[in-house]
Symmetry: C2
Subunit: 338 residues, 2 copies
DNA sequence: CTGTTAGCGCCTTCAA
DNA sequence: TTGAAGGCGCTAACAG
């Protein structure tokens, strides 16, 4: 592919490359007529600025790198979509990078992005080894952590944006209490995840304040999947069961609960109310209609991009912004008033 | 952000930049010891090649642009994921660009990508104005159309990879016939979409050959959404209804059909069998379990990347590769044997 | 208003 | 085996 350069245009227009450059960047010191003539030739010849060359000088690429754990997961897909939309409003392009758990060589990915001279990086999800990554790369490129609640620990020297997991569960507890539920189960506690620990604490604390009984079912599988939810719920439903509501630690678990209920003839919400956490797209489906807590991907994305932009445009590093966003209750049809 | 350059390293190592360059690109003409010493200093100083500079010379960025209509649509999310995985195997990074229908200025997007000097572009989905785009940009950058069946028309001078929509419906018809269905409905024909026209033709042709009756319900809404499916199916179920199976032109329509059936007490598959088209993630959900035709995003992605790589590495343009991939039947629980 | 010169960071001749 | 010089396409001084 042969590309037309500023030099070609200069030759064709009979002017110097500087003049062409000025025309292109509408600089003030240029004769309007010359400018028009030059621009005409540019259009005619299909000239397109070589951004590589420009970035080489300005050391600004107007590209940010976005690292997602898995774009096929609906929450991250939504996040990606909104990041892109928002970044574009700032004149930025997104370079999207997925990491699969197997070959997850994040170091290589960071090296690549920095070599590519991206202006900043959005690292989403709670990736193992994040701290190490920050220590190694934060000096070389602005980084903002997204949807990673560990980063809210004051010991983490970094900027981050995350939904408030604690407040989310609080919301769920208050909602169930408002519907008259007194005896509920928290299904799917994962001790390996900081986010889940927070969710659990928020729920238990609030339920306690409101005088509700809560029994916790742990999820030992280490994954919040539909099958995990299915298994946990089966055990729950097969034993004598007095609780009136279930708070599932994630929507996928909740879907598993729905399936178990189906199998065992437990009707939701008539016999048991169910509320999830995440508000993944599936939750809105006709046959699902799951009441849940939204992690508000759009708000997280917008805020994350903003924080990153500020970081990019600020001179002094070493000052970090942290945002904890309020989650939102999405009421659908899996909870009923007692 | 101050970056270490090859020059800094040269100074620190007491050699010339050329030598450093040779060490970095493991060129043969260099003393192994010098090389080690230089590389040590590079590591120590956190040197990272400036790919902008390198690309400026090589005029290869090892980046491809991928344009998606909507990353939040499960099919395209899956496509993106696999494109990225596959491109990486070729040593390529992906620059992902979503286009929202509103501001869909594809010309600007193409200009940007070309300015960014991406080595090639994957344009996915059936975007209006594709022909015009090809005419304008194909000379400047290798382009491959993905999941756009219009491009299979021989009048289109371009490379493309697409699932065989005709064969997909054929599969559906044969499957229903095999189960003993003789009288079926094709639900959701959209005359504005070439893909849908093909799906319809494939179904009707095959049904005819097999001696089945097929009645077609058109979808006038112009969108294959859940609500569209819901409305069409309501009308269908409320009138006297003798058919034993429904082929929905897309999975979203099928989800609408499921909801209508639920509402009106029609049980699937006991009273009516249902088969969709797409195999979106939702289709596999516990409470859905929709039998459908897969568009095989992984295969489409892999093939598309391959074709693009060949195009990038070949000298002569003007020769186009087209691939029509075979779809696959995904049997779940919404069809029954008569 | 316009052109000349220099340089961004790197690679590639060509000489030493 | 090493280095010096030139240039990729562009912008930014500084003269004219």
């Amino acid at each position: 592919m042969k590309h037309v350069t500023i030099k070609d245009i200069a030759r064709l227009a009979g002017v110097s490359v500087t003049t062409v450059s000025r025309a292109l960047n509408d600089a003030p010191e240029i004769n309007p007529e010359t400018k028009e003539r030059v621009l005409d030739i540019c259009r005619q010849e299909g000239y397109r600025t070589n951004l590589l060359a420009r970035s080489l000088i300005s050391s600004r690429t107007h590209v940010i790198g976005v690292i997602l754990p898995d774009i096929a997961e609906p929450f991250y897909a939504a996040l990606a979509l909104h990041i892109e939309t928002c970044a574009r409003q700032f004149g930025y392009q997104v370079m999207l990078c997925g990491i699969r758990s197997e070959d997850g060589d994040l170091n290589a990915l960071f090296d690549f992005l920095i070599s590519q001279r991206v202006d900043g990086i959005l690292l989403t999800g709670a990736v193992p080894g994040t701290r190490e990554l920050l220590r190694r790369y934060q000096a070389a490129v602005p980084i903002v952590l997204l949807a990673n609640c560990m980063s809210m620990d004051t010991a983490w020297e970094c900027s981050s944006v995350c939904i408030d997991n604690y407040a989310g569960s609080r919301l769920a507890a208050q909602y169930l209490h408002g519907l008259g539920h007194q005896d509920v189960v928290y299904l799917g506690l994962r001790r390996d995840s900081f986010a889940h620990l927070l969710r659990h604490k928020g729920f238990v604390d609030t339920a306690g304040e409101l005088g509700m009984q809560v029994s916790t079912v742990e999820n030992p599988t280490g994954r919040s999947s539909i099958v995990a939810g299915l298994q946990l719920a089966r055990e729950l439903f097969l034993a004598p069961f007095r609780q009136t509501a279930i708070f599932a630690a994630s929507d996928l678990l909740a879907l598993g609960v729905l399936q178990a209920a189906d199998e065992l003839g437990v009707s939701i919400p008539e016999q048991v109310s169910l509320i999830g956490f995440d508000n993944i797209d599936y939750a809105a489906l006709p046959k699902i209609r799951l009441t849940t807590i939204s992690r508000r991907p759009e708000a997280v994305a917008r805020s994350g991009v903003q924080v990153l932009m500020e970081l990019i445009n600020s001179e002094d590093r070493g000052e970090y912004t942290r945002k904890l966003l309020a989650p939102a209750l999405v009421e659908r049809q899996t909870c009923r008033r007692l």
